[in-house]
């Protein structure tokens, strides 16, 4: 469903993604790991359509569900079924979680020719999903992420994921800053949403998330390239040995 071919992107004149190749099929779970600053969030943001990044359109090709993703503005990517759980979700003072999510869900439904949900129906849906990700019902009327703890913000991203039911969800370090209970809740939420026609890309630093959400593939991103891919065992190896062996291998093999 997602085909990334030779993706190059830069910010402020600095090239960050230097030729990413990745293929994600329906139902698969991919984990992307890699040292700080290697470009993981950049990849996630570029896929979501953040315009601060300049994509080299000569080289790069990305298709999502058969459409040329790089041609679409961010909102249309979301309507098509792409979802990014942000590493740092922003606070939106003055707008309640439920108002925000209702607007979002209805935009997505509208684009698919579905009827919009009224406040009553939406409330029912929201209550159900909040129960699923174990969020206090009081959060519905609180301003989006405003004053939420780090863990609450991450959990809120998963709530949005559960409500919007995308085809492809990219989770950028959703596990960072979570305590063990929250990690369980988030993973259970994701596992429940796993389905044959939905795929996940998990960006993470920690093998422990992958104990809960078992990936089909693990990739290592280093200096803007995927330098290693493997199965679940690659994550265990990284956990044990760190990134140094990959860095040494790469820095020796790749001319500066």
């Amino acid at each position: 469903m997602l085909e990334i071919c030779d993706l190059h992107a830069s910010i402020a004149g600095k090239e960050i993604l230097k030729g990413i190749n990745l293929s994600v099929k329906e139902g698969e779970v991919h984990a992307i790991m890699g040292p700080n600053g290697s470009g993981k969030s950049t990849l996630a943001q570029v896929l979501a359509g953040h315009e601060a990044y300049e994509v080299d359109l000569e080289k790069s090709r990305v298709t999502f569900l058969g459409q040329d993703l790089l041609d679409l503005p961010a909102e249309e990517r979301a309507r098509l079924g792409l979802f990014l759980a942000f590493q740092y979700p922003v606070e939106i003072p003055g707008i309640s979680n439920s108002y925000f999510l209702q607007a979002s869900l209805n935009e997505i439904r509208k684009s698919r020719g579905l009827e919009e949900l009224d406040a009553m129906d939406f409330d029912g849906l929201l209550q159900e999903k909040m129960k699923m990700v174990e969020i206090d019902p009081g959060f519905a009327s609180r301003a989006v992420n405003a004053g939420f703890s780090g863990g609450e913000k991450k959990r809120n991203e998963i709530l949005q994921l559960a409500v919007l039911e995308p085809r492809l969800a990219i989770l950028d370090e959703t596990d960072s800053g979570l305590d063990i209970d929250a990690l369980r809740v988030v993973s259970e939420g994701v596992n429940r949403l796993r389905s044959p026609n939905r795929a996940f890309v998990l960006v993470t630093h920690y093998q422990r998330l992958l104990d809960y959400i078992v990936p089909d593939f693990v990739h290592v991103l280093y200096k803007g390239r995927i330098v290693k891919s493997g199965g679940r065992e690659l994550a265990l190896e990284l956990e044990e040995k760190g990134y140094d062996w990959i860095k040494t291998e790469e820095d020796a093999g790749v001319p500066a």
Partner: protein
């Protein structure tokens, strides 16, 4: 502030019109003390020039258009009935709605009030003519400092306007709504509203003053002075809602004098008008008084909205909070001045002010000027102000959830404005304002 004439103006037709109206008003019977008060207003008016941009207080407030108009005062026009207009959208459910039309109370379309014994809510004209005359005489003008040619003009034309009196220890269980309508049935009509609200010691009330324009005429001008007297321990919640339409003009000076441990909660909401200046002056003259001035201005097209606040801390242990928010669109001009003066000896003053402005266009301008003047050493005074567009990272967050930029900005603007309206304690008024703000900013969202 005394003003000297710096330029000899050419023949001033606007002034001539006002002077002619004054002579007409003088022909009407009135109690001697009122005649004297008006005469003092007229004399002050004669001594002042129209405010102009070289005056510090009016530096960014170009009201030249006001001086270029010959106004017709309602003292010289027959009273108008409101039969042609539907006031119901502007009335507040469950409140005592008292309606003023072009400056004068209209009993026929007002609610009758069953207030507690001794309390009066209604018209200043009726109070002047009735048993409350001594009260009016005692308090009228007691708050007003020398301000400008316009406040002097208002005094010269004192006739009618909102009047509220709450005796000692009495709490009004129903809020009072003064609905002031400019009918705009012809061009250039001026109304010199004079409002007087008096709460004796330990009295409590909630009041709203709404100014709306209804009709086809243009350039109506409300020249308003409002005096508020709060006795020791009194508490007043005061909401002003101003929608002067697209061509209406309005200058309003509200002067509040607070007694010991009294509390004033003000919400000033400007929704429209060609030129609107809200001057809000609070004198904290007794220890322990507390004042909370909240404001929202939604400025679009080519309008000018000026909020000019003066808070004087003249006693110890007083608290002031100023929180004004603006939404600026089109080629609008906005001015915010928050002047807090802490006089010598006003120790333990606690003052905070914030002015946040959401900029929706490249051509809108705002001057945000917090001014602190402090002559005491044991005080806590802070201020802050922001001006900017909706943060791009927030807009992107919306877009990443399928909401396009235009809708996102609408929702953000609604949230920004609603935050202020949402603080209004009365649910009926809060709902009404929330509806207005929602309709204005939140396109296409299924509520």
């Amino acid at each position: 502030m005394a003003t000297t004439i710096t330029e000899v103006p050419v023949f001033d037709l606007t002034r001539e019109h006002f002077l002619r109206d004054m002579r007409r008003l003088a022909e009407k019977a009135a109690p001697a003390w009122l005649v004297k008060a008006r005469a003092e207003g007229a004399a002050n008016f004669a001594d002042t020039v129209w405010p102009h941009s070289k005056m510090e207080e009016w530096r960014d407030t170009n009201i030249g258009a006001l001086v270029d108009t010959e106004y017709y005062s309602m003292t010289t026009l027959p009273r108008h009935t409101l039969a042609a207009f539907d006031t119901s959208p502007h009335r507040i459910e469950g409140w005592i709605n008292l309606v003023f039309v072009d400056g004068f109370f209209d009993a026929a379309i007002s609610d009758t009030s069953d207030l507690p014994k001794g309390a009066v809510a209604g018209s200043l004209a009726a109070a002047i003519a009735g048993p409350a005359q001594d009260l009016v005489k005692r308090h009228l003008g007691s708050c007003l400092g020398a301000r400008s040619a316009y406040t002097a003009l208002n005094t010269a034309f004192i006739q009618d306007g909102p009047f509220l009196y709450v005796p000692q220890g009495v709490e009004l269980d129903r809020p009072v709504h003064f609905l002031c309508i400019a009918t705009e049935r012809q061009e250039n009509v001026v109304s010199h509203y004079r409002a007087l609200l008096v709460l004796e010691a330990m009295a409590k009330a909630t009041v709203a003053v709404t100014s709306v324009a209804m009709g086809a005429g243009e350039n109506h001008f409300d020249n308003v002075v409002e005096e508020i007297v709060l006795g020791d321990g009194a508490a007043l919640t005061h909401c002003a809602v101003i929608d002067a339409g697209t061509t209406g003009r309005r200058l309003c000076t509200t002067e509040t004098r607070q007694g010991r441990d009294s509390r004033f909660d003000s919400y000033s909401i400007t929704l429209g008008g060609a030129i609107v200046r809200n001057q809000m002056c609070v004198m904290l003259g007794e220890p322990g008084a507390e004042t909370h001035l909240n404001g929202l201005y939604l400025n679009a097209a080519a309008a000018l909205i000026d909020n000019n606040l003066h808070v004087t801390h003249a006693a110890t242990n007083c608290t002031s909070r100023i929180a004004y928010k603006g939404v600026l669109d089109g080629a609008s001009r906005s001015v915010f001045t928050g002047r807090v003066l802490v006089v010598r000896g006003a120790q333990k003053t606690d003052s905070m002010q914030l002015n946040n402005n959401l900029l929706l266009s490249d051509t809108a301008r705002v001057e945000s000027r917090p001014q602190l003047e402090i002559y005491a050493d044991d005080v806590k005074c802070t201020h802050g102000s922001t001006v900017g567009p909706p943060p791009p990272e927030i807009v992107f967050y919306f877009r990443s959830r399928g909401v396009d930029e235009k809708t996102a900005r609408g929702m953000l603007t609604y949230g920004f404005a609603e935050d202020l309206a949402g603080r209004i304690p009365d649910p009926a008024l809060r709902r009404q304002l929330d509806g207005i703000i929602y309709r204005r900013f939140s396109p296409g969202i299924n509520g």
